[in-house]
């Protein structure tokens, strides 16, 4: 059917039931085979909007390991499939042209960034945390009461981190005695 319509030129198709050529006769091959990319996606997963705290449900469509569409999840009792402009822009957020995917390092006093491998960066940061911790450790108060902490390190977390991430951060830095673990809630 489709193939037949494609070989018949619109001009002739006009003769069959669409004399003015305003409808079916004008339909192009592309229009004929058009399919939404939600249909052609490899998979769809249920997610939650990363912006405000309403917690709207999102459906994330993936093709070739890339997010191709994010839209509201109609199953959600919170949002009933609806999204605000920020939520609706989530695909553009994860695929933003400005997104940086390389580690960057700026040495003291340098005028610009340098490249650095992730492993090296992790190692260097580990060293610095250990060093700073030793340098600024407070074992006890003047009265000899236990402090067991460092105030030489300040952590400021955003509020878009997952609960599990926050848990491990609080757990580890507490174990390290790094006391001042703070987040957006304070701001």
């Amino acid at each position: 059917m489709i193939s037949r319509r494609r070989v018949v030129p619109p001009l002739l198709r006009q003769l069959g039931g669409d004399r003015l050529g305003l409808g079916q006769a004008a339909k192009s091959a592309v229009s004929e085979e058009l399919a939404p990319r939600t249909r052609t996606a490899d998979k769809v997963v249920q997610s939650i909007c990363p912006y405000c705290a309403v917690g709207c449900g999102q459906k994330v469509y993936v093709k070739d390991e890339k997010v191709v569409q994010i839209e509201g999840d109609p199953d959600s009792p919170i949002s009933r499939g609806r999204l605000c402009p920020k939520g609706a822009a989530s695909e553009a957020l994860v695929n933003s042209p400005m997104r940086e995917t390389k580690v960057k390092y700026r040495p003291p006093g340098a005028a610009d960034w340098e490249e650095l491998s992730l492993e090296r960066a992790t190692d260097m940061i580990a060293e610095r945390i250990i060093r700073t911790r030793r340098e600024t450790w407070e074992e006890e108060t003047d009265e000899g009461q236990p402090l067991k902490r460092t105030l030489g390190i300040h952590f400021l977390g955003g509020a878009t981190l997952d609960g599990e991430e926050n848990y491990l951060i609080k757990k580890f830095f507490s174990a390290a005695g790094a006391l001042s673990i703070e987040n957006q809630a304070r701001i």
Binding site: C52, A89, S96, L118, L151, A159, N183
Partner: protein, 849 residues
Amino acid sequence: MGSNMAEQHPVGFQWVIEAKERGAKVIHVDPRFTRTSAMADRHVQIRAGSDIAFLGGVVNYIFERDAWFREYVQHYTNGPVILKPDFQDTEDASGFFSGWNSEHSAYQIDTWGYNKSTGEATAGKSEQQADVSGEQAHGAHGMKLSAGQPPDIDDSMQDERCILQMVRRHFSRYTPEMVAETCGCSAEEFLEVARALCENSGRERTSAIVYSVGWTQHTTGVQNIRAASIVQMLLGNVGRPGGGILALRGHANIQGSTDIPTLYNILPGYIPMPHPQSHPTLDTFVELNGPDTGAWGNLRPYIVSLLKAWWGDAATEDNDFCFDYLPRINGDHSHYAMMLKMLDGGVKGMLCVGQNPTVGSANSKLIRLALAKLDWLVVRDFQPTESALFWQDSPEHESGEVRASDIQTEVFFLPAAAHTEKDGTYTNTQRLLQWHHKACEPPGDARSDLHWIYHLGKAIRAKLADSEDPRDRPIREVTWDYPVHGPHDEPDAEHVLQEISGRRPDGSFLESYDELLPDGSTTCGSWIHCGIYKDGVNQAARKKPHSEQNWIAHEWGWAWPKDTRMIYNRSSADPEGRPWSERKRYVWWDGDAGRWTGLGDSPDFPPEKEPGYRPSRRAKKMEAIAGDKPYILHPDGRAWLYVPTGLVDGPLPTHYEPQESPFSNPLYAQQQNPTRQVFHRPENPYNPTDGEQGAGVYPFVLSTYRLTEHHTSGAMSRTVPYLAELQPEFFCEVSPQLAAERGLEHGGWATIVTARQAVEARVLVTDRIKPLHVQGRAMHLVGAPYHWGGVGIVTGDSANELLPLALDNNVHISEYKVATCDIRPGRRPRGQARLALVEDYRRRAGVKS
């Protein structure tokens, strides 16, 4: 009030529209006419920072009209409780409560307690002298009441010293006329709101109050919310469908970041961090922070299970379950306190994870100067933010104050994974945890924060593996082995959630925190989340379509505690356990079945405790909570009209002027909140406030806020093409009157000046900003959305440059919503000239710098 719901929570606002369609009345009380006001039946414009005066007026109105919900107040609140004879109200002490210690500029709160009770102030008092905040004074935690009974009660609530009468007296001067004078609205407008609230409350009807950072970001932030809770308790609007005080939070997991805190002063589940002087051992910690009665009576099982989750086998009965591994707090170690310490060189390293303080925090310049003092800075985000680039580009670079080469801070930028690139939970604004599934791998070096902290932790542990240093033992012994998967060894988030939920001795998953044991045989990373993995099922990942269940949607996600969708819902039934009305039934007592039942939510109450239950004299913990006391987190099971312990700035809300205000306090001799945190130093100058020399140099009120089209510092919106184009430039909103007075041209440029900074913005002249008449003078508001900065598809000056640090000492949140400023036509000067302009203003205002 204090919320711009239609703009900041548009999808949540669908429920407001729906309620409205069903006949609900929507009233918006706000300094600005916003998109929320446009949808409301009524918009009442009040002066920024006058919310307590307005709500106090409502309280006064409720008493005047005798509109309070007697039965609810008598049984469910501490209204009948008699206070200590030596407590003095602000009415008697010209703006101060009893116990003011001007030397520490802090309160000693031992006079604030229930009459004949002991110990409730212990925590509070000692903390006050240590000058730490109410949060660290541990709210109700310290309160001791035998059998959960306030010792001295007058159920008739006629006694002069009973809380209800105290509250009545405290607000007796908050008359409609006083409200009008203080807030700038008309007495009629106020009365409409008060009447509407009262008429829509009671057995048959309920009213809800919605707030956001419009209330928290003040030097009286906590008391703003307290004032609302007094209104709602008096009207019986808490724990009932259609009622409550709804805190609309601004970030996907900001609620979760408080429940499982990345906050210095609490442990998961709001367990306080220990203090050096008062908590040498686990026993003293539990003794001082765990009341004998109520849900907090089980503090020991909660913290022991947490310590076991963290230090596993290393945590034993003999070593106090590694209690002394926990770092101690003895002061304000919050964000701003640390930034000031940083400025003085006391902080060597900082990690900004998904946070952009040079745009999002107040007094951006101070923040940048502080960052420049660091040895090292780690920033994890989608792209280098203004904070990650502070060494390269800033107003100080433009003015020549600093050069990149002068800044010795080492900076690491680590690209972060997006929500679609990782598994995990977000806790929404109603305590609902929702799991989001990973859709694909993060690009390039981008990793989840879970991956980052886990592998960073492993690296540090490896380096310290054979350290003999006892201070390294907590790191060496912390349980840190999570299964990993995928090409990047991503830790299994679900496994972390299991640890949070907790396990029984036999390793099976716990049902609820009632099962937690004090002997170290159970583990639980966060007692309030206990059961989120019950039956070995990720309850947060439940996604049964709402169309297949009732409106409570109990099978979608999981809410702490115990999957309770509406907290304190026992109060939706009367003391005998019957619904207050057929129309408003939610949870009620089923006498035949001998248990609490309802529309489908979990009762936030012991399921089989009948309404008539009365505790024995020796009862402790939950046994001490009577069958008609819904507020189980409080040792007396009552909601607190009056807060005997836990707050640093008073047991009752009191109107104080903002740190910077063009007006004097019409209610009290004391101008500002006496306990507010201010930092007098050159980097943080304050504009003179009314009555002080030079106040007229900054004659207008400045308020910063957000727009629907952007997200906080813009790091998640100015970099997104489709959002950037919607609000492409920093603009300010002014009234036609102010525009005329200052010669501002609609669509042109204006420069806004404070003692901190001068920024430029496009001008939007609009009738939506209305001058108010306050104390016989016109009050002009300059509205400034704060989303812009130097990085992004669209850029601009940042409004937060203008703000000082002035904090609510309960929670250390700064006053973003009110400051004073001047505004002038045209773009700001560049380079040195910009400094000169700010300096000139300071000189004229007599601000030292």
